[in-house]
């Protein structure tokens, strides 16, 4: 993993420090980083380190020594290589480099970094699915164009989808657009969570178009369920 930060030399130091401060201000931060023995166990267990120029150890060390330039570089590039498998929780110091990366990614998304937008290109349809249906990978996502490397088997599933879904004994699984049948009330409560916790604002930062589509889907259902998003009359 390269540690060359010159690509981000034009980014003001204050901006890098602002983002770094958001990372350390996260309540989870104190539980994911305690220091580093430099033993390399996290790298040895890391699947991403085997295939990418990626090191959870360097990310943990740079954060621990408050190297804001290097952390900014990692936040823009390397964090998206992490598999989030948490094999690195094997750390004898008690660190969770994977947990640290979760926080770094979250700060990148919340602040709408250009690199975060790029990392999420092509991923919008999945965010749409989970946020609007309450389930992540619906049967109708099994399309040959989306999974060409899975072979003709995907085409066979997509062609037989309505019948094969009906051929499932559990009554909740007869759906094609969601993984199971989620009730309307349940969905409205999920939408309320996205709104009340600032997740919709995060989506707006990284994908304005997706934000508009989701708002269209959600607002009517929230209103029907009697949830008032603007109790003080704010727009």
């Amino acid at each position: 993993m390269g540690c060359d930060t010159s690509r981000y030399a034009q980014v003001p130091r204050e901006e890098k420090q602002r983002l770094f401060d958001q990372v350390t201000a996260d309540e989870r931060f104190g539980h994911v980083l305690y220091g580093c023995y430099e033993c390399g166990i996290c790298v040895a267990t890391c699947p991403s380190a085997r295939f990418y120029d990626f090191s959870p150890r360097k990310i943990a060390q740079a954060t621990a020594r408050e190297d804001v330039d290097l952390v900014y570089k990692f936040m823009n590039e390397d964090v998206w290589d992490c598999s989030q498998c948490f094999s690195c929780d094997k750390c004898p110091r008690g660190n969770s480099p994977g947990g640290l990366i979760t926080i770094l990614r979250e700060v990148a998304v919340r602040n709408g970094l250009k690199t975060a937008k790029e990392a999420l290109e092509g991923y919008g349809r999945i965010i749409y699915k989970i946020m609007s249906t309450g389930t992540q990978v619906a049967p109708d996502m099994l399309q040959p164009s989306a999974f060409p490397d899975w072979g003709p088997h995907v085409k066979e599933i997509s062609e037989n989808l309505p019948w094969w879904r009906r051929a499932l004994p559990p009554e909740t699984l007869h759906t094609t657009e969601s993984s199971w049948d989620v009730s309307e009330k349940t969905l409205s409560e999920l939408y309320l969570i996205w709104h009340m916790t600032g997740v919709m604002d995060m989506i707006q930062e990284v994908d304005e178009g997706l934000h508009m589509i989701l708002m269209d889907v959600m607002e009517e259902k929230l209103e029907e369920a009697g949830f008032d998003l603007h109790p003080d009359g704010e727009d």
Partner: protein, 396 residues
């Protein structure tokens, strides 16, 4: 018969677990303390429960029945025979369960893939589901290892942060939902583990000639590791007993391989938008190593992402003449097959990618006849004779 520790270590040293001396917090006690302080309700494991030992030798309660099934997006969406097999096992063991519509995904797959969420939202999603389970009267049994691991993260975060608890409570109040946390976070594979002898008693197939490797799911045994089940008789207590002990109870030979600790390559975002990594890792670090070192008939795992990744990644590798062609099943499906479940009506193996017909034949299943029966079911659906395949149809 134990799975010998010498498989993983040449040392004869015995590791005695003493819950009084291990590092790490006992979070379940803290959950009960918050209830005593009136902060939340603790949803108690219903009787009868089965006691198992976790990684640090502490007792863990596994509910036998009366469970609220927290389904998995990936299982229900892309490998629906996985979820169906879990339900089928409950029905065959005569255990009461609830398959709710008032359930969302834990949404953690998306969170670990894209970070388009935050701790408050993730905790609110978890507690909304837990409230739904509590209000139904059934106890949550979690099908997905990522949900299981993530909910344990949420538990730790809630216990450590009053601010987070207050924020989640505010959201649940807006929904008029109770603020509830379960006494134990229980993964379905722990239920299978607890039930393995009852399942084995009902076995109708001889699996003594079947050799299997086990892939332990990362988010089961690495993410908040202490809740996972360990047993000194399974690899000397040096790796989780879940799945391995079940296979052993079924009479399957469990074969070891050197990369057992490696992840499958799922990667959360990688499986969806960067699969070159996923395919490479799954094939080169898992499937090929299993084939070269153990040459198993099947690899068995206990999570959504692992079944998907290990199974689907083999197709493209075949084009490159890699050493692949290893069927992948969840242990729930294998248990169901062993108890006589239909491979297509119940286990829905036609949703899997890697050819599993040789495995079925070796297990003594006439897969050609069973496939013809399933095709006839589909014809009945198409001509309107039946609207859906029922549980009775599945066992006909």
């Amino acid at each position: 018969m134990p799975i010998n520790v010498h498989v993983v270590s040449r040392s004869s040293r015995k590791f005695e677990r003493d819950p009084e001396t291990v590092k790490g917090e006992e979070l379940r006690e803290q959950v009960l303390e918050l209830e005593a302080r009136g902060e939340w309700i603790v949803h108690k494991v219903p009787e009868p429960w089965i006691t198992v030992k976790n990684k640090y030798g502490r007792d863990k309660k596994i509910p036998a029945g009366h469970t609220w099934h927290h389904k998995s997006c990936g299982q229900c969406g892309h490998i629906p025979g996985y979820s169906t097999s879990i339900f089928w096992l409950h029905r065959k063991l005569g255990l009461d369960y609830h398959d709710p519509r008032d359930q969302t995904s834990c949404t953690a797959w998306n969170y670990y893939a894209s970070a388009t969420s935050n701790a408050a939202a993730q905790a609110a999603v978890a507690l909304r589901n837990f409230a739904s389970a509590y209000q139904s009267g059934y106890y949550p049994l979690i099908h997905c290892a990522t949900s299981y691991g993530h909910y344990k993260e949420v538990r730790a975060q809630l216990l450590h942060s009053r601010k987070l608890r207050d924020e989640v409570r505010r959201i649940l109040d807006a929904m008029k939902r109770p603020f509830v946390f379960p006494e134990e976070i229980v993964h379905y594979s722990e239920w299978v583990h607890a039930m393995r002898h009852r399942i084995a008693e009902r076995r109708v197939l001889d699996l003594s000639k079947i050799v299997a490797t086990v892939h332990p799911a990362c988010h089961y045994h690495k993410l908040v590791a202490e809740d996972a089940i360990y047993d000194p008789d399974v690899y000397g207590g040096q790796r989780t007993a879940t799945v391995s002990a079940t296979l052993q109870a079924l009479g399957v030979t469990v074969a070891d391989y050197s990369t057992w600790f490696d992840c499958c390559g799922f990667g959360f975002r990688h499986i969806l938008v960067q699969r070159d990594f996923t395919r490479s890792f799954a094939v080169q670090r898992k499937i090929e190593v299993m084939k070269e070192e153990a040459n198993p008939d099947v690899t068995v795992t206990h999570d959504t992402g692992c079944v998907t990744t290990l199974d689907q990644s083999q197709f493209a590798a075949r084009a490159h003449s890699r050493n692949v062609g290893l069927p992948v099943l969840s242990e729930a499906q294998l248990c169901a097959l062993a108890m006589g479940a239909h491979p297509y009506r119940v286990c829905q193996l036609h949703w899997h990618n890697t050819d599993n017909r040789a495995l079925l034949a070796k297990m003594g299943i006439d897969h050609e006849a069973r496939w013809r029966e399933f095709e006839a079911d589909v014809e009945r659906l198409k001509n309107g004779e039946i609207e859906y395949l029922s549980w009775e149809d599945a066992d006909a």
